[in-house]
C-alpha cells in the first residue's frame, strides 16, 4: 500500500507542478515543497488536496490540513498514508 501511495503522490505532484518524472522520482522525505518549489503556490496546494482525494479515494477534512503538511515531501506522504489507512 505504502509503495502505491508513494507512487501515486509522486505522479500527482509531477502533474500538478509540472516536475517531470525525473524530478518527481528524485523527491526525498526531506525535499521542501511549499516555500521551496516556486510552482507550489496556494492554488497548487488546493489542486493537490482535491487530486489526492480523487486519486487515493480519500476524503480530506480541511480542518486537518495545516501548513506543516506541505513543508516537505515526507510530511505530505505521511499525511496521505494516514488518510488511506483511515
Amino acid at each position: 500500500m505504502t509503495d502505491t501511495v508513494d507512487a501515486n503522490l509522486r505522479a500527482m505532484l509531477a502533474d500538478v507542478l509540472g516536475l517531470g518524472e525525473d524530478r518527481a522520482a528524485a523527491l526525498t522525505a526531506d525535499s521542501g515543497l511549499f516555500g521551496e518549489l516556486p510552482e507550489f503556490d496556494s492554488m497548487a496546494v488546493a489542486t493537490v488536496l482535491t487530486e489526492m482525494e480523487d486519486r487515493l479515494d480519500i476524503l480530506i477534512d480541511d480542518d486537518d490540513v495545516d501548513g506543516e503538511i506541505f513543508e516537505t515531501y515526507g510530511n505530505l506522504l505521511e499525511f496521505a498514508e494516514r488518510k488511506v489507512r483511515g
Binding site: 507542478l17 509540472g18 496556494s42 492554488m43 489542486t47 482535491t50 487530486e51
Partner: protein, 224 residues
Amino acid sequence: MDEQIFRLSPAGSPRATILFVPPLFEEANRTRRTLVLAMRALAGAGFAALLPDLPGQNESLVPLVEVDLERWSDALADSVHGIDGPLIVASLRGGALIDHRARAAAWWRLAPASGASLLRTLLRARVSADREAGITSSIEGLQAAAQTEALLLAGNRLSSAMIAGLAQAETRDVAPLRTVALGSGEGKIAGTPLWLRAEPGEDTAMARAIADDIIGWSRTCGAI
C-alpha cells in the same frame, strides 16, 4: 453582448464544425494552447474548429460576477446558431457541465469534472491564500457566506448563483456522446492533465490525439 470566438477554418467547405467548450476558470488558461493546437490539426483535416469566450472569461467584457452556469449554457446555445452542416460539441473538464444546451449532432467530453470538485479546489485555494496572509478562514465559513454574497476565489469573483450552481452541477445526459479520460487504451487519450498544472504547459502529442479521437468519433457517431 457578443463574445469573441476564435475560429480556424479548413481550405474549402468544412466536413463538420467542432465547437470546443473550454475548462472553467484558471483551467482554461492552462489548456488553451494545447486546445488551439488540436484545432489546427482539425482544420488541417477539413474541419472548422471554434473556441468561444464564455461571458466573463478570457477577453469577455462581461464582469465574471454577473454570470452563472445557466448563462454560460445559454451563451453556448446561442453561439451555435447559424452554423451550417453537422456540429459536434467537444468539452473539457468543467466545460462538460454547460455543453448540453447547444444543439449538436454529437457530443465529446474529455475528463469531465463535477462542479463540486471544481468549487472545492477554488475554496481551498482561498483558504490557503488566507492562511498565508495570516487570516483564518474555513471552507464551511466561506460556503455560508456565499449564500448571501459574492466571493473572491483564486482571483475569480463568483456570485452566489454561480457558487450554488457549481456545488450542484453534474454533467447532463446528451446523445450521442463519447467520453474519454486520460490514459492508455480504448476510450483514453495519452497525455498529461495540463489543466492541473501550476505553470501552463503544452502537449503537442496530446493535441494530435484529441483531434484524432474527435475525427474518429465524428465518423462512428454518424455526424458526417
